[in-house]
């Protein structure tokens, strides 16, 4: 039978000869991780099972990125649990503040996740690494605690949906706009339990940073994961990061999909998702006079170097509006350093933005940019749920870095064309 890339990856990680869709199986995991919110619970589970040693000290990392730099005593206690466990278990990969970054940006950057792998993360945005042609699935803490002990995870063999993007991308339209547009077409549970496979000419020409953004938000359509076949662009990206060997798997031409959706990108404008669901997306030309108090450029979705370059292009020789707080968060220290070397940080600071150390921070209303009652933000993050960035009566509009930067200048949600 012809198989999709997802089925091939699962097949290569379990001892079954033939897989049926919908079947529950146990699979071997290549890499597992958790963060400062999900990690402490996973460690409790690991201890409760009675395990003494993790299944492989080279295949697990615990990344303190959500409330770091520790925002209060309780969060400091949480990261301390991760640190002590990492040291006690002699985990090969442990990143203290100064090395650490947002998990889904850090793992690919460090060459820890590779094509063909099965990756389990106790964080819903784990599918980000699917951009490398891996199957990366988000789970909870109990699952992760069990995986740390056994090296295995229980999975349902999923159906896949294929999204084929064709046509020519408009200026200022990137991965964020494509995924917001896609979610607006299928809804926030349009891919529940299934894998979203992104393909087509547009994807073949898309940079890694934009591919990461698309796979990152597969969860916002309810998907088990997002995945893009590895190609020359992937190999070039990996060549600079790791010498490890990996296997590139591709979907068979006649693989079966639950649905195949073709999307012509030619008419897609930069997108804005209105409160309070990521599916409420509109083209920027339909957005009128929405004043903002804050703009956030960062997160596991859009905190990579290309995102920062776009922001800098728009902010150069411009000033942030007096009534707006612009918060820019490079996702990792490496991205921070590149932004420094390329002169982007100077542009940001001269424009009136504040540059934060790498953290998830404001995306989940944690710290470093929480909203007050009635305040409104445009943000390159991934969720605009009620209260996500602070007060339950605040509002979040999701967009890509171009709109977030332009809006910071005008003080209302704006197209980059208005300021450039």
């Amino acid at each position: 039978m012809e198989k999709s890339i997802t089925e091939k990856i699962i097949q290569s990680h379990c001892d079954k000869k033939e897989l049926r869709r919908g079947e529950l199986i146990k699979a071997k995991v290549d890499f597992a991780f958790a963060n400062d919110i999900t990690g402490p619970l996973a460690i409790s589970v690991f201890n409760e099972i009675g395990s003494k040693e993790v299944f492989d000290r080279n295949k697990i990392t615990l990344i303190a990125d959500h409330f770091t730099p520790n925002k209060d005593i309780k969060s400091a206690e949480q990261t301390k649990i991760l640190k002590e466990f990492s040291i006690a278990q002699n985990l090969n990969y442990y990143y203290e503040l100064g090395q650490v970054g947002i998990e889904h940006a850090l793992l690919p950057e460090k060459g820890l996740v590779l094509p063909g792998q099965l990756i389990i993360g106790a964080d819903s945005h784990t599918p980000t690494s699917g951009a490398l042609g891996a199957l990366a699935i988000g789970v909870g803490s109990t699952d992760l605690g069990v995986t740390m002990a056994t090296g295995e995870v229980w999975l349902k063999v999923p159906e896949s949906m294929k999204f084929i993007y064709g046509g020519k991308l408009n200026r200022w339209v990137g991965g964020k706009d494509l995924i917001l547009y896609t979610i607006s077409k299928i809804g926030v549970d349009g891919a529940n339990y299934r894998v979203m496979e992104f393909a087509g000419e547009v994807i073949k020409n898309l940079s890694m940073d934009n591919r990461f953004t698309m796979c990152n938000m597969a969860i916002e359509a309810g998907a088990k994961s997002g995945i893009i076949e590895a190609d020359e662009i992937t190999e070039k990206y990996l060549h600079e990061k790791t010498e490890k060997k990996y296997t590139i798997l591709k979907s068979d031409p006649d693989a079966e999909y639950e649905k195949v959706i073709e999307i012509d990108v030619t008419d897609i404008e930069p997108q804005v998702a209105f409160p309070h669901l990521p599916e409420n997306s509109k083209g920027i030309s339909e957005v009128k006079d929405i004043l903002i108090d804050q703009s956030v450029i960062g997160s596991c979705t859009n905190g990579r170097i290309e995102d920062l370059r776009i922001a800098a292009e728009i902010l150069k020789n411009n000033k942030v509006n007096k009534r707006v707080r612009l918060i820019i968060i490079p996702a990792t220290q490496q991205i921070y350093l590149e932004a420094l070397e390329e002169g982007l940080l100077k542009i940001f600071i001269e424009s009136g933005a504040v540059v934060s150390p790498p953290t998830c921070g404001p995306c989940l209303g944690g710290h470093m940019g929480v909203l007050a009652k009635g305040e409104r933000a445009v943000s390159t993050t991934n969720r605009n749920f009620v209260g996500r960035m602070g007060h339950p009566e605040s509002e979040i509009y999701l967009a890509g870095p171009a709109i977030a930067a332009a809006s910071a200048i005008t003080g209302k949600i704006s197209s980059p064309e208005e300021v450039i």
Binding site: I37, E48, I49, D123, V139, T150, N192, V386, G387
Partner: protein, 165 residues
């Protein structure tokens, strides 16, 4: 086994930020998490509910983050089970793994009102609406998942698996 409780009705796409806002995730203490369950959606939810009450929701319950703190907060607050038309997949796993009973039934989701009294028979997959004198069937759970539930969650299940090896 049977579950009896009063219904708290919720809509579609109840996300994990509603169930337990991220501002409380600097702890994983179940008692503390339970205090804030659903507080941005129903004011004083935890004070208003009685032990054994049941949450009924529409599509995609538990969408959003992977935080297991969400089912933990619900369970610890004293909610006996959640019935929804559908669940987001990570919430579904987490609930099974920690032993919070969940049932999928669009019929029940539509055919139950706020405050109705329900009687649920998990093994049989039957939900009785005592107030309205109606009966609904739930979608049966796969055998493998039933065995996790029967063990009392994934931790106990895994312990047994390890012993067997």
């Amino acid at each position: 086994m049977r579950i009896i409780g009063k219904v708290w009705k919720f809509g579609n796409h109840i996300d994990t930020d509603i169930i337990i806002p991220a501002r409380y995730l600097n702890t994983s203490d179940p008692n503390e998490l339970a205090l804030h369950c659903m507080e941005d959606y129903v004011r004083d939810f935890v004070k208003k509910i009685s032990p054994g009450d049941i949450i009924i929701a529409g599509d995609n319950f538990g969408c959003g983050s992977s935080r297991e703190h969400a089912p933990i907060a619900i369970k610890e607050a004293g909610i006996s089970c959640v019935i929804a038309s559908s669940f987001a997949r990570i919430f579904f796993r987490n609930a099974i793994n920690i032993g919070l009973p969940i049932f999928e039934s669009s019929e029940a989701s539509l055919g139950v009102l706020q405050g109705d009294e329900l009687e649920v028979f998990p093994e049989e997959g039957i939900i009785k609406n005592i107030t309205q004198n109606r009966v609904f069937k739930t979608n049966p759970m796969p055998v493998f998942i039933q065995s996790i539930i029967a063990s009392g969650g994934l931790v106990e299940y895994t312990k047994k698996e390890i012993e067997r090896r």
